[in-house]
């Protein structure tokens, strides 16, 4: 086993740990907002570690650029939808008069 494979294995194991943390957070946290916090941060960090490991394993520069830009796109999409879901839920609970004052 070369040192490159060892680094790939370590990166993938760290990524799997963050994915497990995100899924457990979604299952166990009591509130919608805390669930959003667990999901969008931990899962995207795990995806970043897995993407780094696979970019190292594939070892082609163009594939690495593609994987990195895909990760950036996923970060953008997940942060935007996290914000939108939280605002969706908050406006549903807020009374209408208060919304007009703001």
């Amino acid at each position: 086993m070369s040192i490159k494979e060892l680094i790939t294995i370590i990166l993938l194991v760290i990524g799997c740990f963050f994915f497990l943390a995100g899924t457990l957070g979604v299952l166990r946290f009591p509130d919608l907002f805390t669930r959003l916090h667990a999901l969008t941060k931990a899962d995207n960090l795990g995806l970043g570690f897995i993407a780094a490991g696979m970019a190292l394993h594939i070892a082609s520069p163009w594939a690495a650029v593609k994987i990195f830009s895909m990760w950036l796109l996923m970060l953008l999409a997940s942060s935007t939808s996290c914000y939108l879901i939280a605002r969706f839920e908050k406006e549903k609970d807020a009374p209408k008069n208060k919304k007009e004052e703001l």
């Binding site: 979604v26 299952l27 919608l32 696979m54 999409a77 997940s78 939108l84 969706f88």
Partner: protein, 89 residues
């Protein structure tokens, strides 16, 4: 190395299966919606591992599809949101 990749893929699939529990029990619509984010992220990770495992770069293009699906969630949310605002002005 192949065995390790298989274990990682099975582990990520189990994560998706655990996320389905939240779809089943989720009290609000938003709880069910946020699991699509989980499926998008985990599905993309599975496809990235598959691309390295089978040595076929085509899977990277399939992973872009999961990206686009995660963005479609945002568009759907905005549409539903505007409809709800229209009903209660």
């Amino acid at each position: 190395m192949d065995l390790f990749f298989t274990i990682v893929i099975i582990f990520l699939l189990l994560n998706i299966a655990l996320g389905l529990i939240r779809v089943w029990r989720g009290p609000t619509v938003a709880d069910r919606l946020l699991t699509t984010q989980l499926f998008g992220t985990t599905g993309m990770a599975i496809l990235l591992v598959l691309a390295g495992y089978l040595k076929q770069p085509t899977f990277l293009n399939v992973a872009i599809t999961f990206n686009v699906l995660a963005i479609l969630l945002v568009i759907g949310l905005v549409i539903v949101w505007n409809k709800r605002k229209g009903e209660n002005p």
